[in-house]
């Protein structure tokens, strides 16, 4: 019964309580806030499991941006969940059986942290042993994500790109042009405006640090993208959508959405042209290691571009739905 074990258990219990409260509440505003809390607690749990890279993303997306997006959705719809008319019996049985099946499935899995587990004996030793020599990066997570598993990451970025395009398409029919529409800003909130002005600079700087320091510490394109986007979103929230659009036009953001994926794919094409496999960065530099560095830097930059642009344009699309979104909605 170590301290670490107790912390894990406490966080898990918090997660359970939050999830249960989310299920039971009908007030959607509270549900949104609780799901934000849920994300923050899971981020804490992930930090405690030494998965700092994931915790970053969870905290920024789950607790930050998705909360804002859900609040924006909430201001377009009702604030209370309808009471369901059907009975709970059938869904309960289905969920219970699925849960039992999943628990039964975990019985076959190796114990957490078991050194004999397949995941620790198959490719992990190769990554751990060879990253220093082949990629020359202290952060093995980045090396695996951007180089060894570059294809998977390209797929993930494409998923984000597709999801962003999907949201834009769904909402496009309703997007109102920014001109002529008066969007309320938090003009009289002097405290918010001053503090936001003070904070935006450090947030952007931190995003750049996370982006370009991802080779050496926790971080990378996904994390940096969402942090970067959250700075823009907080600007738009406090100073109004029109000001944000003046700073970063929606058209430019939509171009960046595609530019990130193109950059990622383009790096692969370049390594093609040098006569190597797709997304093999070793040929990009004078030595394989410097090539890997350059390739990972470019690829991560592409990831960051797409992620932040998708987040910002999704926010624009949601916020543009509701030009009268005023103080009381936030």
């Amino acid at each position: 019964m170590t301290i670490a074990y107790l912390i894990d258990m406490a966080l898990l219990v918090f997660l359970g309580i939050t999830a249960f409260a989310i299920l039971k509440l009908r007030a959607l505003f509270a549900v949104v806030m609780l799901s934000s809390v849920f994300s923050l607690v899971s981020a804490g749990l992930l930090v405690h499991l030494d998965a700092v890279d994931v915790a970053f993303t969870e905290a920024a997306v789950g607790a930050g941006i998705s909360t804002v997006l859900m609040l924006a959705t909430l201001s377009l719809t009702a604030r209370r969940e309808k009471v369901p008319t059907h009975s709970h019996a059938v869904p309960l049985v289905v969920v219970f059986l699925t849960g039992l099946a999943l628990v039964y499935g975990t019985l076959d899995m190796p114990r957490f942290g078991d050194p004999q587990a397949p995941v620790h004996t198959h490719v992990a030793p190769k990554y751990i042993n060879d990253t220093e020599k082949e990629i020359g990066m202290p952060n093995i997570v980045t090396a695996v994500l951007a180089s060894y598993r570059g294809f998977d990451t390209l797929g993930e970025v494409t998923v984000i790109f597709t999801a962003g395009i999907g949201v834009l398409l769904l909402l496009a029919a309703f997007i109102r042009e920014p001109d002529g529409v008066k969007i309320h800003t938090l003009d009289h909130h002097l405290v918010l405006r001053v503090v936001t002005k003070v904070l935006i600079g450090p947030i952007l700087l931190f995003a750049l640090y996370v982006q370009f320091h991802g080779d050496y510490g926790p971080g990378g394109g996904f994390q940096a993208g969402v942090i970067f986007a959250s700075a823009f979103i907080i600007y738009a929230l406090v100073f109004g959508l029109n000001n944000a659009r003046a700073a970063v036009p929606g058209q430019a953001v939509r171009v960046l959405v595609a530019a990130g994926v193109l950059l990622y794919g383009g790096v692969g094409i370049v390594s093609f042209l040098f006569g190597e496999n797709y997304l093999n960065y070793s040929v990009l530099g004078s030595t394989p290691v410097s090539g890997q560095h350059l390739g990972i830097l470019l690829v991560e930059f592409g990831v960051g571009l797409t992620v932040s642009a998708v987040m910002v344009s999704t926010f624009y699309a949601f916020a543009g739905q509701n030009p009268s979104m005023g103080d009381e909605d936030w």
Partner: protein, 123 residues
Amino acid sequence: MSQLIIDGVSGALLAAGSFLVLVGALGLLRMPDFFTRMHAAGITDTLGADLILLGLMFQAGFSLVSVKLLLIGAFLFFTSPTSTHAIANAGYTAGLRSSLAEGETGSPSAGPQPDRGEGAPRP
């Protein structure tokens, strides 16, 4: 000897910070209405968190960890009161009035709102 002093100071700071956070949590549960709850949570949390960070800084000594803790403390020092202010302001804008100030202001919707987090009624 100096280590003993450092441990003592940091222990005292950690204890004081934990005490304040605990008091804030109790106040959040026990206070009668929205604004007094905000008061309990906001003020004690800011000082409590910063005291805990200060206590941890004494443990870390002059190192990079201390710089990071200092930065976290600085951000908390700005953001925590700001969020308290924003929430209280939103509550006021939405028509919530303090139950303690009842009668003075002739408020539109006086009295404590039994809020279970569903926010205030629209004006």
